[in-house]
Point group: C2
């Protein structure tokens, strides 16, 4: 990656940089669920009504790559896979709580 590209991909605005990580409804709702604690894939899928398994897999992989979520596979039969927020992910709680408060007051 050249330097110009790097600058281009890292906007000066911190809001834009945050949105590059948590843009989109599903990502925000995954964070909402994981703020309540560790969840298995199937638990997330049940909670997030209407999400396809592919979209859930993609979003979790993005969040893992961004360092927001850790994925732990337990060597059981059948394998158990659990998702947990990192410190970086828990810090997004302020965004989700601000959304919840606004939604409660204004919608």
């Amino acid at each position: 990656m050249n330097f110009d590209k790097q600058i281009q991909e890292r906007p000066e605005c911190t809001v834009e940089r945050a949105l590059a990580v948590i843009d989109g409804k599903w990502t925000t709702l995954i964070l909402r669920d994981l703020l309540a604690g560790t969840r298995r894939f199937g638990e997330l899928r049940t909670s997030l009504t209407g999400i396809s398994p592919k979209t859930l897999t993609d979003r979790l992989r993005d969040l893992e790559r961004q360092g927001v979520v850790t994925r732990v596979v337990f060597p059981e039969i059948p394998p158990r896979v659990e998702y947990t927020l990192t410190d970086k992910g828990r810090a997004l709680g302020n965004v989700v709580y601000a959304l919840a408060e606004w939604g409660a007051e204004w919608t």
Copy 2:
């Protein structure tokens, strides 16, 4: 609209209800700009690098319909159109500030 439909369209979760209004990168960046004060269409278009005029028009219309933004047309030649946040819109400041803080600390 029947009652079942109404229930279906208004999720119990306040985060989901908030996301129905401010889902998407462009909407959040429009809010960021308008939190700094009233803006003309052209000013928003310049600030939001890469947005198409159609998308900007659509997002502003959505925000106006949701009661987040007011649109005032001044009867000048050429007409001047200004967009300003309502109280409901200014209350979304907490969400944008939380994103900005997180972006500054973690990205």
